[in-house]
């Protein structure tokens, strides 16, 4: 899995809405494996917009995003979906677990969609992920039977389902108390440090951002500072 190219490169990424509002402007950023990057900034600074652009959920108006050296600007939507499925993982402020499915089934959805593993292997992987996040006893429970912190950890497990190279999180602790928020950030730190993934977290919580290895600060859609530990 060693690629000479950096994991993620943004070159002059700009996003302007049709109404003329500029969300982010001329973002240049290079992220390598093993980095735990916090994107910080005041409300409306374009943090989330940048995350969606880097996560291939949205397309920039100009500039380009390269994932593992591959230019994504010209790729058709199904190819972007395939990259999200196999290479990226998302965690949002809201857990977005499907309410009709158990914890285990929720984690299984991306694995089954990718269809790279047979059913028993897929289930074993999902259980392993849940176990690693301390959720083994909750595997058969429904999302509405879990606490907020547990739900968010299930969402993390789902994001990790297909062993992504890049984990993107948008205010993942926004709905959590301090203790659970700290626990989630610990997980992120561990994922970056131990597994060599890149973790990109949008947060407005400066306290938590300090746990990251790198902090990118955004004001009015532009990077104003980019500091590493």
């Amino acid at each position: 899995m060693s690629t000479p190219a950096p994991l993620l490169v943004a070159q002059g990424v700009t996003k302007t809405l049709p109404e003329g509002v500029t969300l982010v402007s001329d973002i240049n950023l290079t992220i390598d494996g093993g980095e735990f990057v916090a994107i910080t900034g005041p409300s409306g600074s374009g943090k989330s917009s940048l995350l969606y652009l880097l996560g291939l959920l949205d397309r920039p108006t100009s500039g380009r995003v390269l994932l593992e050296g591959r230019d994504t600007a010209a790729l058709p939507a199904p190819d972007l979906a395939a990259m999200r499925l196999a290479r990226l993982g998302f965690v949002f402020q809201f857990h977005f677990l499907l309410p009709e499915f158990s914890t285990l089934d929720n984690v299984l959805i991306p694995i089954r969609r990718r269809a790279a593993l047979a059913r028993p292997a897929a289930e074993a992987r999902a259980r392993m992920l849940l176990d690693a996040l301390g959720l083994a006893p909750a595997a058969e429970k429904m999302p509405d039977q879990l606490s907020g912190g547990m739900r968010q950890r299930v969402a993390v497990a789902r994001a990790l389902a297909n062993d992504p190279v890049l984990l993107l999180a948008d205010e993942p602790t926004g709905n959590l108390d301090t203790k659970n928020a700290a626990a989630v950030f610990d997980i992120f730190a561990r994922l970056a440090k131990e597994d060599g993934r890149a973790v990109l977290v949008v947060t407005h919580d400066a306290e938590l951002a300090r746990r990251a290895t790198r902090r990118v600060h955004l004001v009015d859609g532009r990077i104003t500072s980019d500091e590493k530990n």
């Binding site: 969606y52 996560g55 959920l57 395939a82 499925l85 809201f94 977005f96 499907l98 499915f101 991306p110």
Partner: protein
Amino acid sequence: MRLIIDLARGMLSRRRRQTLVSVLGVALGVAFFIAITSIMRGFQTYFIQQVIDVQPHIVIKDETRSPAPQAAHMAAPDGAVAINGVKPVDRLRGIRASGERLAVLEAIPGAAAAPILTGAALLRYGSRDVTITVTGVDPTRYARVSNIEKDMLSGRLEDLRATANGLIIGDSLALRLGVQLGDTVVAVSPRGVSLQMKIVGLFHTGLATLDQSAGYVLLKVNQVLQDRPNVVNQILLRLGDVTQAEPLAREIEARFGERTESWEEQNRNILTVFVIQNAIMYSVTGAILLVAAFGIYNIISTVVFEKTRDIAILKSLGFTEGDVQLLFLAQGLIAGFLGAALGCLIGQLMIEGLAQVRFHTETPAGNDRFLLARDWRIYAIASGFAMASAALAAVIPARRAARLDPVQIIRGAA
């Protein structure tokens, strides 16, 4: 694909009651379609069967489809010829040399042919006069193209040969005339020929027109009675394969020149009625399924509306627009499939119920119940139709779901 179906089932399970209503709508549509089609098809099949059974499959008549061309027309085919006031010609009508034609016709595999001469005659007995249609037949040949032998109450067709001027009539006619087997009646033809005839047989077909006003005599006897020696006016043909009647009739007409009609042509008015009947039936059941389709559209639209968050997360996880569209299409198909399955079951029950119905009427054929077609193809058509309309109903909301922008939804939910 299993995943898509699992997800679709999960989403539908949240709207169990609404799903059930849509499924019931489809089920009723399918059930009515099956029951009505079964009744109609059953009756039509029975009717056609009767027609095919009672009538010859092909009739060759002693006339041409269009009048013979005039000499002046033939002399100047491209000329502007106008002919008025063509004089009637006295000519002995009929098919002559029927023997040659019979030899050709009987060479057709599975075919039986019988020449007949029909004509009107007045039967007189005591103070009663009844006009009937007399058919002159060759008993051996005629038995092969008709069911008359089966309908004989007393006597046999062959008895015509044993008695000079034997006559076979329907039981109702015998009652009207007040004659019995062995009695002698006087037959007078429009040509003025009068013959003494002996009743040698009685038949009952169940068809009032035949039983009340038809009689059978030997072909030769009728040729004398009608004063049309050595001619027949129809050749009747019965085939092994009735579906071949129409093309065969066209072939025979092209070869012999005489107007040749298949059973389909002779009953075209009734068959046309069936076509219209079927069109009405399909529109009514189609309308029921259309209403059911709206139910499916409704449930899928509701689910799409409620599940925007789930759609967004599935897309962010790497589901394509096609996957999402398939997911909601699958929900429509599941509802359609459940409706079709339930509908087949209800339809079957309805048919069993209809089969128990008895009408207290005396019909000629002795039928006092619904004639039901039990054909798996009716179920297949109904189910296919239901599934197709369900899929169609789901397409619009499914496309809407596929086009949802996950970024906007995730922003809105945060």
